[in-house]
């Protein structure tokens, strides 16, 4: 299939999932219910107040996580580099956990304090990673990844310490949130996520040519006219903005950030002018679909969506990998 038809197909699937997902659930909803002018019927309330915002949140979070992974993989020229492996999500999670543990509650510019705390944590880790890339001529990517993994462990220990010292109620909230889920959200979550994800997405969209150049190596990219340090700053900013916001709202959902960009590379190639829309659509659709399964598989109980993403995405990724032979990415 040609790249454009694949993109078209991804778009159609995304549209279908966004349209269909809110209808799926324990309470069955007919199209007549949602058009109820008063909006007081049970079906209408469930549809508009619970399911629609939840599907939108899933799509925004999935897109943002996938795009963040795509950007980091290009930036570090390494298939394992993602906001998760480099400790950025850990930083965001720690910030948000600290906010919860301290029992804080404030909002600024219409964005909740938890999101700001997560963003601050993400930005702190990013600054550290960025500093490491520049200190003494810069560290090699494998060193950075190891440092990121160490940092992630350190931060998750800190989160566990926070949780251990918390009372039962806060502790439960923390655990539930750490599992990664889209369960307790309404339009607040959508409104929190929307500006962050959209800002990050627009920045990445404007940097597709720059991401391509970063993929060929920094020296060569600079010789082609790319201002590498400035581009890196923008990328770090955009990604910590998005990932910080997503982690604050949905908890650290794994897998999407690493695998969605790889799956899209196998589908449309590594040119970011195609990879960007593919990753955006696939990441969003994938998480929205996983959330439907998370809601339905053991209904009325819900499993954390992070469990589903890995259960579904893992085998699918291996299938693509084996079918296409080798994974020609960077190494």
């Amino acid at each position: 299939m040609k790249v454009n038809s694949i993109l078209m197909l991804l778009g159609l699937v995304a549209f279908a999932v966004l349209l269909g997902a809110p209808f799926v659930g324990i309470t069955s909803i007919s199209p007549a219910d949602i058009l109820d002018p008063a909006g007081e019927a049970m079906g209408a309330v469930v549809f508009w107040r619970i399911r629609v915002p939840r599907v939108l949140t899933a799509f925004l979070a999935g897109s943002g996580l996938a795009l963040g992974g795509m950007a980091f993989q290009a930036l570090f020229r390494n298939p394992l580099a993602t906001p998760f492996t480099l400790g950025v999500s850990g930083g965001a999670a720690f910030g948000a956990a600290l906010y919860m543990r301290l029992g804080l509650a404030f909002a600024y510019l219409g964005i909740s304090g938890g999101t700001w705390a997560a963003f601050a944590g993400a930005a702190l880790v990013i600054t550290l990673v960025y500093g490491l890339t520049r200190a003494r001529g810069g560290f090699a990517t494998p060193t950075l990844l190891l440092a990121g993994v160490a940092l992630s462990f350190f931060l998750s220990s800190m989160i566990l310490a926070l949780q251990y010292s918390a009372n039962l109620h806060d502790s439960f909230r923390l655990v539930r949130w750490l599992m990664g889920g889209l369960g307790m959200v309404g339009y607040d979550a959508v409104l929190n996520l929307f500006p962050l994800v959209v800002t990050g997405t627009v920045i990445l969209f404007m940097l597709t040519n720059e991401l391509n150049l970063l993929t060929i190596g920094e020296d060569l990219a600079m010789s082609r006219g790319l201002d590498v340090p400035r581009t890196k700053k923008w990328l770090f900013f955009a990604v910590s903005f998005m990932v910080g916001g997503i982690v604050a709202v949905c908890g650290p959902i794994g897998f999407v950030g690493m695998m969605a960009p790889h799956i899209c590379r196998l589908l449309v190639g590594a040119d970011h002018r195609h990879l960007f829309p593919a990753t955006l659509l696939f990441g969003g659709t994938f998480l929205a679909a996983c959330d439907v399964i998370a809601r339905m598989a053991f209904a009325p109980a819900e499993i954390p969506v992070g469990v589903i993403t890995a259960l579904l995405g893992g085998p699918f990724f291996l299938y693509l990998l084996l079918r296409r032979g080798t994974l020609h990415l960077f190494q």
Binding site: T215, I216, G217, D219, M222, S223, G225, D271
Partner: protein
Amino acid sequence: MTGSAYRIDHLTVALGGKTVLRDVSFSLESGSSMAVIGPNGAGKSTLLKCLLRLVMPAAGSIRLFEKDLGRYSRRALARLTGYVPQAGSDTVPFTVEEFVLMARYAYLGAFSHFTETDRQITRDAMARARVENFAGRMLHTLSGGERQKVHIAAALAQQPQVMLLDEATAFLDYRHQVEILELTDALRRETGMTVIAVTHDLNQGALQYDKVLALKDGAVVCSGRPGDLLETGRLESIYDTPFRFLEEPETGTTYVVPGRRVP
């Protein structure tokens, strides 16, 4: 453009606390060519990277077309200088055509797309470097020699006035060596491009250039015409190994061969 392409004064570079280049000075006329030779670790590649502003000097100045190198924007610099890196095992996940087209970045306006002009220039550059036959192939599926020609095509797509080549023919088989030598010769002779090439190839490389700059331990040990290299003891002192000089009977051209005569 006439006048000097490069004017380098007292350039000193330190990397990780070690002085890699010390007090290097030279100038190069626009449209002429210079070979940079010297043993491994002499600072040849670092010198090229300084000219591309990939490495910042600790002291000294570099002027490109009579303007301080630091005063060019990255894009302006990319429109003036093309770079062909050392042949490596780079596995870039792009097709040849995509890779060459990306080299048009320096001409791209803010938030705009590559135009038909960019695509035409890309095709011309690929034809010039004779890689148009594998335009649609992925870069990592090519042989080292083919890939090196693609790198030249990409540098040509930048439409530079100066071409900087870092051991463009190293590790290549004879056919690709010849092809790339012919290509760079044609660039020097026909396009009036200024060419600086780091090379270990004395006969087909250094001795054919307008100027030669020999580096050893980061310092200039010889700067002048290629003929100067043939003076007794010159090459021996640069490379710390004996050389023999052979004359081709038909043309009278002198060839240098490293090492003593094998008995």
